[in-house]
Amino acid sequence: MDDLLSEFLTETSESLSTLDVELVKLEQNPNDPDILSNIFRLVHTIKGTCGFLGLPRLEAVAHAGENVLGKIRDGELVVTAEAVTLVLESIDTIKYLLGELEQNEAEPDGNDADLIARLNHFADTGTILGGSAPAAAAAPEPEPVEEPPLDVPESGVAVDSDALQAAFDATEVDPEFATSSEPEAPAPAPAPPAAAKSQQVAPAKKPAAEQKAEAPRGEAKESSVAAQTIRVNVELLENLMTLVSELVLTRNQLLQMVRGKDDSEFTVPLQRLSHITTDLQEGVMKTRMQPIGNAWAKLPRIVRDLALEMNKKIDLQMIGADTELDRQVLELIKDPLTHMVRNSADHGLEDIPGRREAGKPETGTVTLNAYHEGGHIIIEISDDGRGLNLDRIKAKAIANGLTTESELEGMAEQQIQQFIFKPGFSTAEKVTSVSGRGVGMDVVRTNIEKIGGTVELKSVEGRGSTFIIKIPLTLAIVSALIVESGGERFAIPQISVLELVRASNNSEHSIERIHDTPVLRLRNRLLPLVTLKKILGLDTKEESDEGVDEEAFIVVAQVGTYSFGIIVDRVFDTEEIVVKPVAPILRDLSLFSGNTILGDGSVIMILDPNGIATRTGEITVGGSQGVEGKAKTDASDRETTSMLVFRAGGSEVRAVPLALVARLEEIDVENIEHSNGRPLVQYRGKLMPLVFIDGSYQMKAEGRQPTLVFQDRERTMGLVVDEIVDIVDDVLNVELTADQDGLVGSAVIDGKATDLIDAGYYLELAFSDWFGTEDNGGEKKRVLLIDDSPFFRNLLTPMLSVAGFRVTAVETAEQAMELKNRGDLFDAIISDIEMPGMNGFEFAEALQNDEQWGEVPIIALSSHTSEEDFERGRQVGFSDYVAKFDRDALVSTLVQTLSNV
């Protein structure tokens, strides 16, 4: 192909992708003159170059487009969605023509009279020809090729010319050669989106043709901006890279030879050579890196088109566009990213009525977020749409024969969601023009895994989905700390290193041991330590263990929120390294994230702090939300409860629902007084009785004792405990009903068997009349509580009693019916919805026309409080609907309901 032509194609296709972005921006800020003039310039440039190369058809379209833009710029026309669509259409046509041009090296036959006519009409009258419907749909384009297969730009890489300049400076290229090569290099390439840091204020771009015509080179301000990037073939860069590596090796050999001799005449020049080589190496390495924004450049346009077509309002947020990654990786993730954003916008987000119904703002948000973390590049794609529909996934999984119903039964939500990554799995009900074409998430996952990445998925039905792509630092430059252990050197990515500590017996930091497990006191915290030698199996001598205690270097590393120390023998320097993937046969070594060649030419393994953390067993990765709850089909299965976990009298952990605890206090043992043989403490001007977990409990002799304070109205009570362990949100599932006083039962909380204490028991212990056995006036309202879960009965009974009701609790609706038949009377009924046997709805229906109980208000208690549930409840005769765990609401509803009667 003609050099000039291929140059033109490369350049124009880059201008076009910039144009897409700019036009969408313009639509959002119609009055921004900067954006507008930038767009105008881009189109003008294309037109000018076409004319120069003798491409009449292309020129005609660009000219008509430019006309419209010119009018807009001059304020004669207003920017509207239609106008932008029309201009975008002309750009699509240009793309199509370029595609043809690239394949056949000639413009295709035919003309674009229709489009041009419409553009001209709009330019003249400001109205769209042929109705105001978004023209894109009716566009008579010859098969609008959205993405013409332009290979030319793909094979070139835009390079920050600073880096190149540095490289050239270092090599001191013959200036004559530099100038003579100028015409070869497409001198004033339009700053491609590659210069994305400055993308917001996309600099002025002028093509060679125009520039020659208008301004002598280098004079105009604009051209100096445009000259900041040039295009270089990637292969050339690769070769440069290899050459530089060779150069480094040779330099090192020379250094080695001179090292022995003190005053060699070579010392000074060699030093200089050494520095230059290092700079050169760095410069060349940097040429490979590109901001991820390059892969995003097309997305605003895609999302905008999609929003118009699907009649949605979509806000695309892009964060961290300047996160740099290797251009090879960039190319590989471009398509998966586009696909996922499309998916989010198309399937993820609801349409406007749908969003309104769900109580969300009309404009849906798709967020792209890229950042470095723990030596990986993380890209998050999240939407606030409807989330994954589990039922539909289940149905589809069964239909595709991927699983069986019984298998699904035992699966956690997360596992079920994973099905969307299986081949041929699309839950889109209909194929739209944008997605659902059968290219599914499986392709996305395969592509990402090909470069050693992972995709994670988090989705909450009704709240949206987030995909998290994690790409290892393949080929990315990282700063790494070089350490030695067991005679070998290793690199630890600086990004996960928090600090270095030198520990010895005489310094303030020394390694202590708990049953042979080394730990380090660091700023009032215990830091778990791992010995690198040991986990790498380099520990040959047994006694080396003792040696470690004498003096050791500890690299404090952080993975997520977990920090730990790595004991190494020596710490060298930090070095900038290019991470290379390890050979396939070594990929399963999770302790290494890659390997690299150091400045001195030796190969070094790069440690993966993640892998080390996992190896030491401190981190459980993903899926830890077990399936322990499957035996029970209690409505509370999916609902998490905040539990206060504590220890009191013995090593076992106990828990109490956090909702019941008013405050946590520490009471000084000295302040405890006794009255009538019972311990009391003055608390906020009142006397607060203290109770212990059981009769045998021993308080500390001195110091402070943690206490859980339960409060209701005027009364407070303190439960003395040894230690408050944690507050845990977990699915509460009482598994054993204990017969022991003071215990509701046991549950698995945070993976540990935990005793749940019966707060009611201790309340009664403190005030024998807490639950109103005194019964003054008989005014108390009688409440019937129906709940199949013993935990809830035990939780609610004391609570309601405290609130002044006389509570009768039964397990099933059938038992309640028995009470009714016996002739018992109640002022109100609180009923669970999901119960074995007769459920809450059926129960309420049965009561609706009952003589005795027909008038008794029934309050539904459920973890499902959607509008629909509410409506259904009202129909069958519930007077109100209260969410479980919301005790205040329950009490106030009850009071209100009863006062209405």
Partner: protein, 168 residues
Amino acid sequence: MSDSNALVPSHERGGALDLGGDSQDFVTAYIGKQLFGIPVLTVQDVLGPQRITRIPLAPPEVAGSLNLRGRIVTAIDVRKRLGLRDKDDDNPGMSIVVDQGGELYSLMVDQVGEVLSVPKKAFEQNPATLDPRWREFSDGIFRLDKKLLVILDVTRLLDFTSSIKQAG
């Protein structure tokens, strides 16, 4: 392949080769006294002793990795791979660098010999009695004048997944 015969200083090896219009070329190597052959086109480089970085936790047959002109090459101890004892002499050994699926591997052997062109008709299947490990890594045997040339199947030699299964 046969036109690369010119490179091969093999004719003095005698009889059998003269007949070979249809021959194959191998880079030969010794491990102990056994002669091995690796198809010449898979060979990238022949190296002398190199500085090798050990890789902890790697399979024992992986000797480490080394830097070959800016590329990282994984060194495989062919002795260990074939289940042979470690060398007992001080010979530092040599390596044959092969390309496998875009990755470079350096096969460490005792001594690298010449490039040999052998006639296809001297080919024999592996004897059924051969050590199973050898049988897995050998493509077959060529009968040479005084020696037997064992052809190494580089793909299988470097396929650690199957051998791990085998070992386990």
